[in-house]
Symmetry: C2
Subunit: 208 residues, 2 copies
């Protein structure tokens, strides 16, 4: 049986849990809790699975460990049936991977930079080095990322175009993280808020 090592409710674990639900695979995996607030992700046993010391990790039946949400999503989406999150044609794959990376760097990772550097984050036992000025820049980038997405979503229903994709999952997780880090969506970003409500209503999220 496939195993997912994660911490429920955290933004990156949410990306994979949504992908699993979109593919109808949630019941096909065993979830193993990693005590991230307690620092378990930095202990040798977990770092043997992911030297980057981050959740989630997908462990295949042969013991191979896959980290990085894009890589896990590629696996799940290509496991059986047609891909529904990562694109079927060369062009669709390219646009989805571009928008995934753009929302990851410009929103999710930007929020993470703020949270781990300019707030108490997960506590001083986890945040052993902080750079407040760099963290504040992350907040600026996250707000710019939200504004970029709002403009984009004025003209198209989903982040990569007409279809829901991996890029929407990344952006949605970015907003989960923004809530957690107390970065509010600016009031005038109505397209982004409408998109968020539309995505939140998907069964993969509303029934999770």
């Amino acid at each position: 049986m496939l195993k997912i090592y994660d911490f429920k409710g955290f933004p990156n674990p949410a990306r994979v849990r949504i992908a699993l639900a979109e593919k109808g695979l949630t019941d096909k995996v065993k979830f193993v809790n990693v005590d991230v607030p307690g620092g378990e992700h930095r202990q040798a046993a977990f770092m043997a699975k992911n030297p980057s010391a981050a959740v989630p990790v997908l462990e295949l039946e042969d013991g191979t460990c896959i980290s990085e949400c894009t890589a896990i999503t590629e696996y799940l989406d290509n496991l059986s049936g047609e891909p529904v999150l990562t694109g079927k044609t060369a062009k669709d794959r390219a646009v989805i991977h571009m928008m995934q990376r753009r929302t990851e760097a410009g929103l999710l990772d930007a929020v993470a930079t703020y949270f781990h550097n300019a707030t108490p984050g997960l506590g001083s036992h986890i945040e052993i080095y902080q750079n407040r000025e760099w963290g504040e820049k992350g907040r600026d980038r996250a707000l710019a990322g939200m504004r970029y997405l709002d403009n984009l979503l004025a003209d198209q229903p989903y982040v990569a175009g007409k279809q829901f994709s991996m890029a929407d999952i990344t952006a949605f997780a970015g907003l989960i993280f923004a809530d957690f880090a107390k970065i509010d969506i600016p009031a005038d970003l109505s397209h982004l808020k409408a998109w968020r409500a539309r995505v939140a209503a998907r069964p993969s999220i509303s029934q999770a």
Copy 2:
């Protein structure tokens, strides 16, 4: 005809040029020079193609612009014939995307953080904000990334396993950037150096 907007010799442009050569597509694209040292990538005309203000960008015949090296590589690798850089099976795709992202974050982007924050970088007209302490941390991460790769390459010929892939291209570009930023490969990393020599001898690189 496909167009590539880039700046020859820079690390991210090199990733796409190597991918083009591996796929035998170099003669099928028109290269358009973007004057990155002069700041052209931050002007409105270019940012309409890539709001992230970075090269390279692939422009398709229908005008669609694809940025992010992973996305461009996905396009080129799936354009015709079998994929040779991004994997054929779900597991191969997952491992390659994982290792691509691990080398991107842990080596190439780490070097970039150092170069743009703790050195004069591309000059004060381009490096309008610098954070020296964060930049030095990037150097530490890059050196740790090199050591991680050296350990890995003691047991396997390529970054994602037995076959050359997109992950090797990212790591190779990371070392091009490290040369540029004057971060030397530590003398004892013999597996990493042997891998680099092996990759540099590929026709996609030695004949470029």
